[in-house]
Symmetry: C2
Amino acid sequence: MLNKTRGRPRGNPDTKAAIAEAARVLFLRHGYKGTTVRAVAAAAGVDQALISYHFGSKQGLFGESLNLLCARPGALDHALVGDRAGLADRLITAVTTLWDATAPTENRMALQDDDTMRAFRDYLESELLVRLAEFLGGPDATARATAAVGVIGGLIFTRYLNPLRPIAALTPAEVRRVFGPALRAAL
Amino acid sequence: MLNKTRGRPRGNPDTKAAIAEAARVLFLRHGYKGTTVRAVAAAAGVDQALISYHFGSKQGLFGESLNLLCARPGALDHALVGDRAGLADRLITAVTTLWDATAPTENRMALQDDDTMRAFRDYLESELLVRLAEFLGGPDATARATAAVGVIGGLIFTRYLNPLRPIAALTPAEVRRVFGPALRAAL
DNA sequence: CGTTTTATTCAGCACGGTTGAATATTGCCC
DNA sequence: GGGCAATATTCAACCGTGCTGAATAAAACG
């Protein structure tokens, strides 16, 4: 696209990382649909085709550049150790700290397109739910984990994805107080 | 597209309604992104251009063909009369019957449309929340109503808007059993 | 050194939403 | 009732998007 000579470049620049970084910024700012492959390529100073080459598809780019952030594996891990009594509070705290950090108020609505939803869903379903059930143990572990995921999903939805003013305005401590009983009941 | 003579057709066929109906079916079956304007036009037996003409845009079509179903006002009203003990169950039942009816089993769609989200949010915020707080009464009525809306929002989100398989697969009775404790705790 | 592998640009395809022009029908007004 | 604007429709084309295959140049490896 831009007169950079064809063929492999000199040195070994980590172009893939550069693309991923540019993509991360743009995805957070404009959402999935609002970010074109060409725009990412331009921001990274490379040709559009490189994205397909390195990441296979726009989906792949999205996953590799953002999943680390949103569905950061192990982000909730330290909530899943310790006593059962404090579990609910630890989970809520983990959720609020994680999301309050990654989504700085303005850019929350950008996470509303369907591909983000899918990534998020997969995370809740195959990561959080099974881990929780594992941690809980017992006969109705799955049912209780399901209920808990429902409550946590509700928190994330009503506070971050489609923020209701009264819920988004709460401080983390208030969130704990408001959602705590429900989550404890679910577990 | 198909050799139908150009210009205005005979009689006054309600083509706009036909398009909306075809769109409703396809949107429910394939979701927003998976439904092309051309496909809707073909299903309705008209030219693609007509949908821009009648609805302005694909978004507009989406809104007009589906919004009526989701934001049905007063749908939860009869849950808000009666004793406090059965309130949680009545609310959950109202939600499941309402949404199970509008989205035929398998193909729950992802409502990622901005306008739909906003309408839904406004409904939860200014209808359900204040009504609930009113019904509950007492000093911390608002806090408890907020928590309840969070739980209900979680149910709707994880079962209908962005359906997690384990939750979407539950029967209404199971939903009551799983979400009941959390909602009762919130109230 | 020669060969294979890898990283890159370039040109272009296929598809999706939208638009402007052409055209036929209805509905209104005198 | 006849003329004329408004309306509803098709057709053809545009522009942006994600993606792909060919060409090419540097690196990696023997």
